[in-house]
């Protein structure tokens, strides 16, 4: 279907305005079929009429419309819900849900939907499903009404409220009623108690609803309204502080993830590893490949894709790290500044390799369902992916600490970094300890890449955007100290997030850099510097 010109739309609108009233009866079928040739404005009117029928049978059709699954058959302009099947579509009757045969791709046309229509549908669906036998659907319906209040839904809400027995659903419906009352022409007293209800509900959404009626509210209620708004706002301010700390921690955990591998290769081994970012990138690409394989072969495993990607990324990047160490870095011990040059070269090559294999564009790495969306904690919103990333970074940190402090390999590693000759004379194979330490650092960077693929671009440039921040974190925290990296990352994250609202993101970042520079003057060896003579040696 091509877009109509304005004139055509006008014409159709005229015809419809005569035709539409004749459909306004209890049978929604002709209304739905009329959607076939309606433009957005007409469709909005039709939706109003469909909702007004109060017929719950239209719900699947409305749902399909919102999802973009509503099609009409070109031959007879009848509307169906269509599901892709093979090269064509399987048609389903919009009202009865009965199968209505197949259709080739070019025999049907999608009925277009836009944001505005989706909003209307949401509101209409809310009204229509308030009486659903399914508790979850009712709850959803009440929330839908809550989010897009309209006085037309008021009667429906009240009817549902009278029948509702479930406590939580009832409470939600009370709130939905309250928001609908506000914009209706109910009595002042009813509105006053509605304001009270909304005030107790709190949150940004309530604030929006209260604000939206502040121009049209009766004079007598102005005071109540303003008081309610002020109350929610002051409460919200406190939550904003908490939210900011959360954002800071979450940014900090991203920095920690980015830096923690470097804390080993640079912090412990003293290699200025400019290819560290590329290890993170390789980890992200491993995730991409794993997801591709899963999508093609076992789509039902998708929610497990990250769990599968973790060991894959660790092994892939660890192996690449091993090769780099054996091939390049082992010749450069004791010449830290030259490792910078060589690893810079390595990073260019890795970037270009990835670019040659996967192309320069972003690759899609999906969020498993458990990492999507958010949940409210009081007045703040916590997104699942951020929460998992915080937990994830902390567990990597702990795991690494355990490996370093408790395992035999960790013991060897510390022995080698503290006194190479002594370790070697005690029978430790220092070259292999070096190689595996580097591989471990790389592998951990790869694991970090799995997590970062969830919040950032997966492109050949991924690593470049983290490398400088990673070095800042490690240096700020104090080279050679894992705890320093942890505290450094988190404090830089929180600092950044507290600067950002007042000075903006750009200036905030500059200020953080300047503060790091000044801090290093004060403590030339970072936050958790080792003191004493040994360091100088």
């Amino acid at each position: 279907m091509t877009l109509k010109s304005f004139l055509q739309a006008l014409l159709a609108c005229l015809i419809l305005s005569f035709a539409a009233p004749s459909f306004a009866q209890s049978d929604p079928k002709p209304l739905i079929d009329a959607l076939a040739k309606a433009d957005f404005n007409e469709a909005e009117k039709l939706l109003g009429q469909i909702a007004a029928t109060g017929d719950a049978r239209v719900v699947p059709a409305l749902n399909a419309f919102a999802e973009g699954d509503l099609y009409f058959r070109k031959s007879d302009n009848l509307v169906f819900i269509a599901k892709a099947a093979g090269s064509g579509f399987e048609l389903i009757d919009p009202l009865t849900g009965a199968a209505a045969g197949q259709a080739a791709k070019n025999a049907v046309t999608k009925i277009k939907v836009n944001n505005n229509l989706r909003r209307v549908i949401r509101s209409a669906m809310g009204g229509l499903t308030l009486l659903s036998p399914d508790r979850a659907v009712r709850l959803q319906a009440a929330e839908a009404v809550l989010r897009s209040p309209s006085p037309e839904n008021l009667d429906l809400v009240e009817a549902a409220l009278a029948k509702e027995t479930d406590g939580e659903v009832k409470a939600r419906m009370e709130e939905a009623r309250a928001v609908s009352v506000l914009s209706s022409d109910r009595s002042i007293d009813e509105k006053r108690s509605a304001i009270e209800t909304i005030k107790n509900l709190g949150g940004r959404n309530s604030l929006g609803i209260l604000n939206s009626v502040s121009g049209s509210i009766e004079v007598g209620l102005k005071g109540d309204l303003d008081a309610a708004i002020a109350s929610i706002e002051s409460e919200q301010q406190l939550w904003d502080m908490a939210q900011n700390v959360w954002y800071g921690l979450s940014l900090g955990s991203v920095l920690l993830l980015a830096a923690i591998g470097l804390a080993i290769t640079f912090g412990v081994m003293g290699i200025i590893n400019m290819a560290h970012g590329e290890m993170v990138m390789l980890g992200a690409y491993s995730t991409f490949v794993v997801q591709e394989v899963i999508r093609d072969n076992a789509p039902n495993l998708f929610d497990w894709s990250l769990a599968i990607a973790l060991p894959v990324a660790f092994l892939v990047t660890g192996a690449v790290g091993l090769v780099i160490e054996r091939g390049v870095i082992r010749f450069l011990y004791g010449r830290p500044l030259e490792t910078l040059l060589a690893t810079w070269g390595v990073s260019l090559i890795l970037q270009q390799t990835i670019r040659s294999i996967f192309g320069p564009t972003n690759q899609e790495v999906g969020n498993p369902s458990w990492m999507s969306g958010s949940f409210p904690v009081g007045g703040m919103t916590i997104t699942w992916n951020r929460m998992w990333i915080i937990l994830f970074s902390m567990s990597i940190f702990v795991a690494l600490l355990v490996v370093l402090k408790k395992s035999a390999f960790g013991l060897n590693m510390r022995a080698v970094t503290q006194n190479r000759r002594m370790a070697s004379s005690m029978g430790i194979k220092t070259p292999w300890v070096d190689a595996f330490t580097f591989a471990l650092g790389s592998g951990i960077a790869g694991i970090a890449g799995v997590a970062l693929s969830q919040i950032d671009n997966v492109s050949p440039n991924l690593g470049q955007s983290y490398i400088i921040d990673s070095f800042m974190v490690v240096v700020f925290g104090g080279v050679g100290n894992l705890w320093g990296t942890l505290v450094g990352a988190l404090s830089l994250g929180v600092l950044n997030k507290f600067l950002e609202p007042s000075v903006g993101a750009v200036l905030g970042k500059i200020l953080v850099l300047v503060l790091i520079i000044l801090f290093i003057q004060k403590r030339p060896r970072g936050l958790f510097a080792l003191k004493g003579r040994a360091v100088e040696a």
Binding site: T2, L3, F40, G68, K112, V113, N114, N115, N116, R118, R119, R122, S148, R204, N205, L207, G208, I209, L210, N211, S212, S214, D240, Q243, Y247, S250, L251, V254, Q352, R355, P360, T361, N362, Q363, E364, V365, N367, S372, G373, S374, T381, T383, W384, R386, Q454, I455, D456, N457, V458, P460, N461, Q464, S465, N496, K497, E500, P501, G504, A505, V506
Partner: protein, 429 residues
């Protein structure tokens, strides 16, 4: 010691003479065109695609017999996202490889870097990306959108069909967003939007932590008026931005985001299900229902041997620019810059949205403006299409440029003619 010195001197001389001489081998039966897009560095992510498009277009044209009976030959160089290198490579293409025209650049910085080179050496650049306007060079053709071909229609659409009254202008802190937002702010205020209903926010390049800004947008949106975000956020920063939007549950039905730099390529790196309904304004979408577009997509997928490759607006702009140049060269009967510059004005070529685009005397082109909503499959559903709009190089909403026009036809031949003073050259004083 002296040996070393001689060696160094000889080396220098060799390098110099080889670079100087290698241009001399251009065969007579080919016409060379330059392709100046970054294949490495930060911009490779966007520009590599355009290089491929150019190669495809050249191949197609050669199948049709080339131009003026000669084969076309694309000279590809890599300016590596390094702006001074753009100027160097442009100079190399023009004076050493003797290309007839150059297709390239993405960022404004790169275009600004090569502009003096093209003017000095009198060659032609086709610039295929949307940009902030405020420029009209005798030697450059701007086939991407000017702000009036993208931003203003998008804002109109939101105001009219979604009833938006409150605006967040969020952008990356560089010249295109700054200028576009200045224009938009002036435009919105001229439409009666109060200054307190406009929030402007800038972020650094490659910004990846959007938590605070998204929650600020939420806050701004809870003032009881319908709110929308106009995003001029650049390239890489978009993916984390949209991910954060999706996760914080900002649905398009509540606060729609309309973007000017997000196309099919950017969405290819995203799970778009949470983003359904957010908008973009371009002059072309892959989902355009037109025969010419279907052919183009088929060709593209065949050329790249990848069924998943998508097409986008800058590709269409490159397509229009290339075809306009071919047509102009054929009309002029030569690739001589001055002749082509004369013959190209007024040339109309089919665009991919089913209409035609005409090269205007201000070196911008006419294109329709399409508003699309993001779909779950990463494509756009076109919700509005305007008739073709002429690219406006000097914005009517900026105080210092509203009196300027550009007309490169004789006798005016001026890129910044001041209609108030009647003189060429800015203020004309």
């Amino acid at each position: 010691m002296t040996f070393k010195a001689k060696f160094a001197g000889a080396l220098l001389a060799t390098v110099m003479s080889t670079t100087a001489l290698s241009g001399a081998f251009a065969a007579d039966d080919t016409i060379k065109i330059g392709v100046l897009h970054s294949l490495s560095g930060t911009m490779a992510i966007s520009e590599t695609t355009l290089k491929d498009v150019m190669l495809m277009l050249v191949e197609e044209q050669n199948k049709k017999g080339g131009v003026l009976g000669k084969k076309l030959e694309a000279v590809v160089v890599d300016p590596a996202s390094d702006w001074p290198l753009f100027a160097e490579k442009a100079r190399q293409l023009i004076s050493q490889d003797k290309v007839a025209a150059v297709f390239g650049c993405w960022t404004s910085s790169s275009r600004k870097s090569v502009l003096p080179v093209f003017e000095e050496l009198n060659s032609i650049l086709f610039y295929p990306v949307q940009y902030e306007g405020e420029e009209s060079s005798r030697n450059i053709f701007y086939t991407g959108a000017a702000p009036n071909q993208q931003a203003i229609p998008a804002v109109d659409y939101l105001a009219e069909s979604e009833g938006v009254q409150r605006w967040v202008l969020a952008g990356t802190d560089y010249v295109y967003p700054q200028t576009t937002n200045k224009i938009l702010k002036a435009y919105l205020m001229s439409k009666g939007v109060a200054e307190s209903d406009i929030m402007v926010n800038y972020t650094p390049f490659g910004h990846s932590d959007w938590q605070t800004i998204v929650s600020d947008i939420k806050k701004f949106g809870s003032a009881g008026k319908k709110t929308a975000v106009v995003s001029t956020i650049n390239g890489d920063a978009n993916v984390p931005f949209y991910k954060e939007l999706g996760n914080q549950g900002i649905k398009a039905e509540d606060i729609p985001v309309v973007a000017f730099s997000v196309g099919e390529e950017e969405l290819a790196g995203l799970d778009t299900k949470p983003l359904v309904g957010h908008l973009a304004a371009w002059n072309y979408f892959q989902s355009v229902d037109a025969e010419v577009n279907a052919d183009f997509i088929k060709e593209w997928k065949a050329f790249t041997k990848n069924d998943k490759r998508v097409t986008n607006d800058p590709m269409e702009a490159a397509y229009i620019g290339f075809n306009a140049w071919v047509k102009a060269v054929e009309a002029a009967g030569t690739t001589d810059t001055d002749k082509v510059l004369d013959s190209i004005i007024g040339v109309s070529v089919p665009n991919l949205s089913g209409g035609t685009s005409t090269v205007m005397p201000n070196h911008h082109i006419t294109k329709p403006v399409l508003i699309g909503e993001i779909q779950a499959d990463g494509q756009f559903e076109i919700v509005q299409e305007t008739p073709a709009v002429v690219g406006d190089e000097w914005s009517d909403y900026l105080p210092d440029s509203k009196n300027l026009i550009s007309d490169w036809r004789k006798p005016m031949s001026c890129g910044n003619f001041n209609v108030a003073s009647g003189k060429c050259g800015g203020k004309g004083s």
